[in-house]
C-alpha cells in the first residue's frame, strides 16, 4: 500500500543548485516510487531565526506516493546528509494534508461540518 506524503527540505543555502538537485534525486531514488514526484523549488529564503550559523536556507517541497516501509531509509539518508539543515515529512491525504478535493468530497465534508460544529 502506498500513501501520499509531502516533504519540505531546507538545504544549506551555500550549496550550488546542481548539488541540491543531485541530493534530491538521490533521496527520491530511495523511495522506489513509481509515480512521478512533483518538486516545487522555493529557492533561497530568509530563515525566521538562525539555525546554527545560518541565516538563509534553500527550500524545496516534494509530493510523492510511497510505501511506508521505504520511509526509514529515506529519512536516515537525510539525517546523515550535512547539506540538509531541516526536513519535515507530513501525510498529504484527506483531512490530514491538503490534496485537491473533488466536488463530491467537498459536499460530504460540508455536511459533516454542519453536523459536528456546534461550538
Amino acid at each position: 500500500m502506498t500513501r501520499r506524503y509531502e516533504a519540505v527540505y531546507i538545504f544549506d543555502s551555500t550549496l550550488e543548485d546542481a548539488a541540491i538537485n543531485e541530493k534530491i534525486a538521490r533521496f527520491h531514488a530511495l523511495l522506489q516510487s513509481t509515480d512521478e514526484i512533483s518538486i516545487d523549488h522555493w529557492g533561497r529564503r530568509q530563515l525566521a531565526y538562525k539555525i546554527g550559523p545560518r541565516d538563509t536556507g534553500y527550500y524545496a517541497i516534494a509530493r510523492f506516493h510511497a510505501s511506508p516501509t521505504t520511509l526509514p531509509e529515506y529519512e536516515r539518508a537525510m539525517k546523515l546528509d550535512d547539506g540538509v539543515v531541516r526536513y519535515l515529512i507530513t501525510l498529504f491525504e484527506h483531512e490530514v494534508g491538503a490534496p485537491p478535493m473533488t466536488e463530491e468530497e467537498m459536499a460530504r465534508a460540508a455536511r459533516q461540518d454542519d453536523d459536528d460544529d456546534e461550538d
Partner: protein, 73 residues
C-alpha cells in the same frame, strides 16, 4: 450576557485545511511575541483552531515563522 458569536475566518473563506506553508496567513494568528492567538480572540472554530495550532508548530520548526518574535540570540 453572552457576547455575539464571532465567525471563523477559515470557515468564511471555505478553507478546508490550514496549510503550514502559508506563513502569511499563519502570521495573522500569532501574537506580537509569536504565541498562538487563542480562539476566543480570533473567533476561529474548534476544528480550524486544532489545525491552526499544528500548522503554526510545523511552520516554526521549518523557520518560516519565529518561535519568539523580537528575540535576538
Amino acid at each position: 450576557m453572552r457576547r455575539p458569536q464571532k465567525s471563523c475566518p477559515f470557515c468564511e473563506g471555505r478553507v478546508h485545511y490550514v496549510d503550514y506553508k502559508d506563513d502569511r496567513t499563519l502570521g495573522r494568528f500569532i501574537t506580537d511575541h509569536g504565541k498562538i492567538l487563542p480562539s476566543r480572540l480570533s473567533g476561529v472554530c474548534a476544528r480550524h483552531q486544532r489545525q491552526l495550532s499544528t500548522a503554526i508548530k510545523r511552520a516554526r520548526y521549518l523557520a518560516m515563522i519565529p518561535y519568539i518574535r523580537g528575540h535576538q540570540a
